[in-house]
Symmetry: D2
Subunit: 354 residues, 4 copies
């Protein structure tokens, strides 16, 4: 192991997000993959256990690492990246967090009052919830959650617009990629020549999580969700990666479209200031072409592929206090593994990783 | 030719909509295909000229009919079904209408004050515009237009809701099928593993046409567009047929969801009263499953395949004066050829076909 | 129940083939669906249990029928259509056959010496194996199997060519549809923008089964497999239904291409003579276009949709004793449920259904 | 322009292959893009003219370069990469070759006796045809052609097997990607949920070109095509990039499968010896998994993405003098632009670029 690198466990390592963790951490300057945790695949080598979906191919070292059953109490790592199904996450995320700094992309604890739900560019101040978490839970470690893959792109784009124009209502319609359903996920017989206008639980999650992330810290040390109204209608389409979302946004202040584009383009956050390894130079890329963003062309855009949100078709709504736009974000990178790694990087710089 | 059948010309017969006309008119009880008109294909037999896209296969008779160049002044038919690109339609639709009852699905004349833009179930009274048309144009024939394929399903669903709840604002996002772009249309390299969030001119057309169709006849004999605000964001997806639309609807009166579903289910129009051959028993089919409508499963639903609009996911919006739903309509049947044939059937019964 | 109709059980009724059985038997003139058998879905109504994949929608009657657990010893039906996974079929097919005339499309017993593997047009004489079966097994019922979905189309096309030219070697490459893998089957993440050049066990099955079907009855009452060499290379592609196969065929006698097409076109079998309800007028449809057959256009061709094999691109190979062609057959109709129903129809006419 | 780099013209720069040339030459160590030639796009900037298909995005410099009309007589470059439709190539390839070293991927001159048809690893000795070309044509420049995209992968794999086992007959079936048809190419309505078993002229080209590349130089300085029999059956499938081919190979000498895999793995050519920039370390990658190669996973495999051919499913045929395998090669990289660049690199090292 490279000297000084932090030892990282990937929990749920054979899944779609687990595969992104492997890809993004294999050559990471600060973290080193030291433990692979799986459930059904425990006891196998990673190369035998995983049905690898991407064209990227892990190194021999990783392919020959054993996958182990989850055993939070006996592991010895510096940080845990957990990507588990909801039920399993209810059991395991807190057991890992009791001992280690843990970043989870499961929905299980996202809405807990003492658990930060974080996009490092959007609400880094919510890390202060960890004080209450430590007091209340008595953990040696800590738990931070990464949001729903659809909420991530949406919150990133709404944040600077909210600061500038004060949002009243957002009506968003999504066209979500297949990798968002995990593996095996959506049967091909369901999606070829088809669209499915439904994803279980997704619409409520996107609305509630976005409101939490846009929320303010109160004096009592909790987060008060933002009162903006958010309506979400989801659709699954036949794309591999990249969630596309079209939003109709109503604001309190009048909107100038060109100014709004500048605000989006100029948006920067703590990760950019801190020059974190996984921070894209531009969190939001605004395109002027009338037919962009497109999933296959834009999902890997930017200086750190998959970490920027690409926005296009920015234009007025029905009146001057409204705006329309289409955004795209890579659901398993910015919407999961990449955002979680960025959280861990920021936490390391802020001294949370011990 | 069967005795008593009206002789129909199909103009633009090799295109996607032209192919639907052939399929739907081949065994029609009232109309008989007598003339096939094409441009690049003129001089060939239909079977040589057409790149047939559907699994339906036309009869030998049709395949061996010659395709002729457009020559409105020398044709001799009882009704014309015209499906031409916009520019060609500017030239030809009026030349045909000068001599024959003509139903066109081109956008060229849809917004003309004296041209009915018609869905027989929605605004049959707009046929009265034909009086002004005859006076003003001095034609022996007449011109009625069939709306944009996306506007058709939308207007059909909004009509009964508007009558019941008075609509204030509609925010709609579409997932449109490939056949809507005609043939050859969208290159496969653009749409496999992809979505295109843009269709030239479509968004404005859908809004304006829907408002015209929901509009009222004024004392001066013209149509005053409805003041409802309509925002449309379009997307092209990799489905063959069937436009899916998700709508967020704001109303003046409070909405009861179960009542709204009943209103949609119970909606009937003149075509149902008149028992027209191409009229579906139920113009709107409401489904209760949480994941319907789906294009591949529902686009051919109903007693006349492709003529019903299928609605699902009917639920409240952000407050009691709002409603959300997803609708599906077959873009080349109800959204083009089928609606035009239904128009012609209604006009025949009302004595407009001479 | 309609008087005089035979009561049919569909075993494995929620699967892809089970759904085709429902569709094809709902209005069958001779059979009536009386029992639905499922495993995981037992105890539910069919409408709750099935994830229906096709645009066809079963009647209320069927949707409200209970799905029952397999219980061959207590059922009371006239014929069993069984469509089970291999392991389950090993257990259940013989238990059903012990009491009822049973047609199974599982591979489990296809290669048993006393079990006919049947395409009614190809080897109806193999039904005579049932004598040995009855003697040896002591069953009140009987077991006939329907071949692998890829073998069905291939054997149908090879049969008349073998009779005419004596085949020496067949090198076939397949492009198989998703429904052939059952449901949920192939994950969408595996097949969008992709091809999988592998299907477990398929290549050996296609070769061995085709040779058995082309085989001759010996004096001892068994079938001697045909000595033709058959090489199969399979590929899964992103089509919903319809297996396409391209074959390079070497023959003992010189081949005249036009004559070969005539032989294919003129091919008729017992089902056509007997005018069975599910028998297509032409078992093989030969197309002359250079780019046919195509799955989406041709899989439902013919007088009984999905029951004809469509052949195209018939042309010479590298010398005069060779032939090349591409064939398409609907894998869940002629390749499974449809062929099994045709077997049952023929058996009824021949007095096997008691 | 970087000092010492050779100035390259890309002719046909907006097409699918043109786009690959841009991507692969933008940061090439030896060549610099100096001239962009297009036909319909002449007069525009490249960024306006091109409908860019890939997720890679060209630099500002390239996007702002003007596209010029073809004018071979007035250009001033060191090497020409030409990617034109057949008819245009008949006119222009020789006009370019009259003045400049020209590598063309058009089929127009591939079969000319004095024009090398080259895969640098397979038949570098065929460059000696250029002597006769210079004598006979009196050109200052020269013309070398890069083979058909399907022939490239096939010839690369057959070459070492031919040397080892002497091939008698090859029966190959292809599953070809959409980018092989250029842009706009295959309409999406033709290929979603479908396969097209036909590509105009392709089958003859693949056979004839492969035989030329495997052919030997004769004493008279021409190439005598190899006598191996090659049957090709082509299919277009819904993949973006990567032609898959399954081959049944008959040999004169007995084949040991493990040895054959070693022979393929160990295959190296002049480009590897010369360490050319675009030469992959391993021209052929052999995989042991039973379900590989797959287009989406393997088309960019190897040290220079898209330049290696990936082979899998190597196994016996019907007897010991036969072999079966499936191969994949990236059709616009190794099958076009990449192979042409590799040709140019080899020619530079051999002194052909002046």
């Amino acid at each position: 192991m490279a000297k000084g690198k932090l030892r990282a466990a990937i929990v749920g390592v054979t899944g779609m997000v687990g595969q992104q963790y492997v890809r993004m951490l294999e050559n990471h300057p600060w973290f080193e993959i030291s433990t692979l945790v799986g459930n059904r695949s425990a006891g196998k080598l990673y190369g035998e256990a995983v049905e690898w979906i991407d064209s990227y191919e892990p190194s021999e070292r990783i392919m020959n690492m054993p996958v182990r059953v989850a055993n939070p109490e006996s592991d010895d790592v510096d940080v845990v990246f957990a990507s588990l199904p909801t039920e399993a996450a209810y059991q395991l995320d807190t057991r890992y967090a009791a001992r280690f700094p843990t970043v989870s992309d499961a929905s299980s604890y996202r809405m807990e009052p003492d658990v930060p739900l974080l996009i490092p560019e959007v609400n880094p101040d919510h890390l202060s919830l960890l004080e209450a978490q430590r007091r209340g839970r008595g953990w040696r470690g800590l738990l931070v959650t990464s949001p729903n893959c659809t909420a991530t792109g949406l919150a990133m784009v709404l944040k600077p617009l909210h600061d500038a124009y004060r949002l009243r209502k957002v009506v968003v319609s999504t066209l979500q990629a297949l990798s968002g359903a995990g593996y095996p996920g959506v049967p091909s017989l369901r999606i070829i020549d088809n669209v499915i206008p439904y994803i279980k639980g997704e619409e409520d999650k996107v609305a509630a999580e976005t409101k939490k992330m846009l929320g303010k810290l109160t004096d009592s040390g909790t987060v008060s969700p933002d009162p903006v109204g958010i309506s979400v209608m989801v659709h699954r389409v036949a794309t591999i990666d990249g969630h596309l979302e079209s939003a109709y946004i109503e604001t309190e202040r009048p909107v100038d479209v060109e100014e709004a584009k500048e605000i989006l383009r100029d948006f920067r956050g703590r990760p950019q200031e801190m020059k974190l390894p996984t921070a894209p130079e531009r969190p939001i890329i605004v395109r002027e072409e009338e037919d962009r963003p497109q999933p296959r062309l834009d999902r890997m855009a930017g200086s750190v592929p998959g970490m920027s949100v690409v926005v296009g078709r920015v234009r007025r709504g029905l009146d001057e206090r409204s705006l329309r736009l289409t955004l795209l974000s890579h659901n398993t990178i910015r919407g999961a593994a990449g955002n979680a790694i960025l959280i861990a990087e920021m936490m390391r710089e802020l001294g949370y990783l011990g």
